[in-house]
């Protein structure tokens, strides 16, 4: 084998900033996660709800452009998700009711359907992100490069956010474009202009606590399986505990039981972002007909999720620094 003697050439070009370094961590993490066949299958499954929601938006468009809409098959299809009151109003006054119908549909899509799929994707992608670095001592290599602890965390969070947005933000935006295409006229565009921003905000609300909590589990456990288990248990057992408390006599509709459920707090915020209850109230539609349950305080949910995020950040910072600061 030859022994090279040509020496180094000093680099005089620009050196990238912090975001580029964090992106390098994200890019390799995304790529390594993509190698998992299970994850790829999960992602395919994550997009299948579009097979239901796509026709739903087509039905909204069809109902609004058909004169004799009540006998229309699409009208019948909308009865289940939107309820009879909202469906009837939609057929009578499509321009005024369309934003509310879309909000309800996007709330169901992001708040219910995709947030459940997201739990499995996060468990698969997030569990090894920090745990594996702790086990393999990759910390030593990472932090022998000019990156800070925050760059590292940002890079790792980027991996999870990428996959969460692949099952929330991206399909929701695709659904929005699809629904614009199904709308009878371009008038739907200004009517539903805020929907895009709401989709982005709702995706962020779903993704942020999920990312930080999963990374914390990954950092604390040091074992990917433990992190996956802790994450899924937190999500589903929290939801179960909330359901038990909410159905207990005297506690139904109480504010505090939702604090046990990450999923419930997230859906309360997604509901608030799409202003579902406000729009339904303006149309004098009963939210219970749509299965929305008792109203909950979005402020309380936001405060609790902010606390969870702050605690997760503190845990992450401590754990990422700890192996170096024994």
């Amino acid at each position: 084998m030859p022994i090279y003697e040509f020496g180094y050439r000093q680099w005089h070009g620009p050196i990238g900033g912090r975001l580029r370094r964090a992106w390098a961590i994200t890019a390799v993490g995304v790529r390594l996660a993509w190698n998992s066949r299970l994850l790829r299958r999960m992602l395919y499954v994550a997009w299948t709800p579009l097979l239901y929601f796509g026709p739903l938006f087509f039905a909204v468009g069809s109902v609004t452009e058909t004169s004799d809409s009540r006998n229309n098959v699409w009208y019948q299809m909308l009865q289940a998700p939107l309820g009879p009151q909202l469906t009837e109003q939609l057929s009578e006054n499509p321009e005024a009711v369309r934003p509310a119908a879309w909000s309800v549909a996007f709330y169901y899509y992001l708040g219910i359907s995709q947030s459940i799929v997201m739990v499995l994707v996060v468990a698969s992608v997030g569990a090894p992100l920090i745990a594996q670095d702790v086990r393999s001592k990759s910390f030593l290599l990472y932090f022998s490069k000019p990156i800070t602890r925050w760059d590292y965390l940002l890079g790792k969070a980027g991996v999870l956010l990428t996959y969460i947005f692949l099952v929330t933000l991206l399909p929701a935006l695709a659904l929005y474009l699809l629904s614009i295409g199904f709308a009878p006229s371009l008038a739907a565009l200004p009517d539903t202009g805020w929907t895009v921003l709401r989709i982005v905000a709702a995706s962020a609300v779903i993704a942020t606590p999920a990312t930080l909590l999963m990374l914390s589990f990954s950092a604390v456990g040091g074992e990917p399986r433990f992190a996956s288990f802790a994450w899924i248990a937190t999500w589903f057992l929290g939801g179960l505990f909330y359901a038990i408390l909410d159905s207990a006599p005297g506690l139904h509709g109480a504010r505090w039981p939702m604090l046990f459920s990450l999923h419930r707090m997230t859906t309360v915020l997604v509901e608030a972002i799409f202003d579902v209850r406000g729009q339904l109230a303006a149309l004098q539609v009963d939210p219970v007909q749509l299965g929305l349950g008792q109203p909950q305080s979005s402020g309380l949910a936001l405060a609790m999720l902010a606390c969870v995020c702050a605690i997760c950040l503190a845990v992450l910072w401590r754990r990422v620094t700890a192996p170096l600061n024994v």
Partner: protein
């Protein structure tokens, strides 16, 4: 002249375990060896140099800067850790490219540098294969390449020769020498004296978390010569051999293990002993199956120096 490393009473505690104890030194630029037996505190010292650990007491400066939480300094320093820390699904080229990108290089430049660094350490042949299939030596070369990839002024190599075959060792030794001749500073740790001796004459001896001695190889050798050397012999007539050795060669003590037919001989004059031994056994017609010296074993060198074996 700016010092390469400057420490004042540098101490590192792992809970109640002492990793490094009150280490004070001023190390000028150049190629230096860090020698010590396993558990002596070498890796702790290197991690403190890299800012991967925070000192419990005292201070450390590398190239005039505090290393803890100082990513700017790390642009000037390359680190080859002792242990594997790879993503096994990546190829060597991809892995080194990722680490170069963490140094702030763009994708194309990072890839070019990664290929060049892997070529320098003799890893070009296998750099497009997945790391999962690498031998220990291939992994070691890949670790070295990532340390070199951003053209550091100062290289910190933790046991860089472990796991390499003799040809690989030679190549890496030549590489470190060439880096030194290019004006780069290198700190190489090892627990094998002759490995580091092949790279540099300047040593830091560390033992029990303390700096035991520093200087060049001649000073250390002469220090060693003041202490008895231990030589092991194996012979079918071990008892007879012991008797003649005590009478005719400069020997200060012998331990005989008749079961194993071995002798453990101590001498203050190894040169005279080695010169006289062939003549003695040839004259007496005694068989000797094996002659071995423990003095290349660094552990015994350190025992001599701290006086626990004298």
């Amino acid at each position: 002249m700016q010092l390469l490393i400057q420490t004042v009473s540098l101490t590192k505690l792992y809970g109640v375990v002492l990793g490094l104890n009150d280490l004070t030194l001023n190390l000028p630029p150049g190629v230096h060896g860090l020698l010590g037996p396993n558990g002596a505190g070498k890796s702790t010292f290197l991690k403190l140099v890299m800012g991967l650990l925070k000192p419990t007491e005292g201070s450390i400066r590398v190239l005039g800067k505090r290393p803890w939480d100082n990513p700017r300094l790390l642009r000037l320093v390359g680190y080859c850790p002792e242990h594997d820390a790879f993503y096994h699904n990546l190829t060597g080229l991809e892995f080194v490219t990722v680490l170069a990108r963490m140094g702030g290089f763009g994708r194309a430049e990072a890839r070019r540098r990664a290929a060049e660094a892997l070529g320098r350490v003799g890893a070009a042949e296998f750099m497009n294969r997945r790391i999962a299939g690498y031998s220990k030596g291939m992994r070691q070369r890949t670790r070295l390449a990532q340390a070199l990839v951003h053209d550091p002024e100062f290289l910190v190599l933790d046991e860089p020769l472990s796991g390499l075959d003799p040809i690989g060792r030679h190549e890496i030794i030549e590489l470190v020498r060439s880096l030194g001749s290019q004006g780069k500073s290198v700190l190489v740790s090892s627990h094998v004296l002759h490995e580091v001796q092949a790279v540099t004459d300047d040593f830091l001896l560390i033992y029990g978390g303390r700096l035991l001695a520093s200087g060049n190889v001649h000073e250390i050798r002469s220090l060693m010569n003041q202490h008895p050397h231990q030589i092991k012999l194996r012979s079918a007539q071990a008892a007879t051999l012991a008797h003649h050795l005590l009478r005719e060669l400069p020997v200060t003590g012998i331990e005989l293990d008749e079961k194993l037919q071995t002798l453990s001989v101590r001498t203050h004059d190894p040169q005279a002993f080695y010169a006289g031994l062939p003549l003695l056994v040839a004259g007496l017609g005694l068989p000797i199956d094996e002659v071995a010296s423990d003095d290349d074993n660094l552990e015994s060198v350190f025992k001599y120096l701290v006086g626990s074996d004298s």
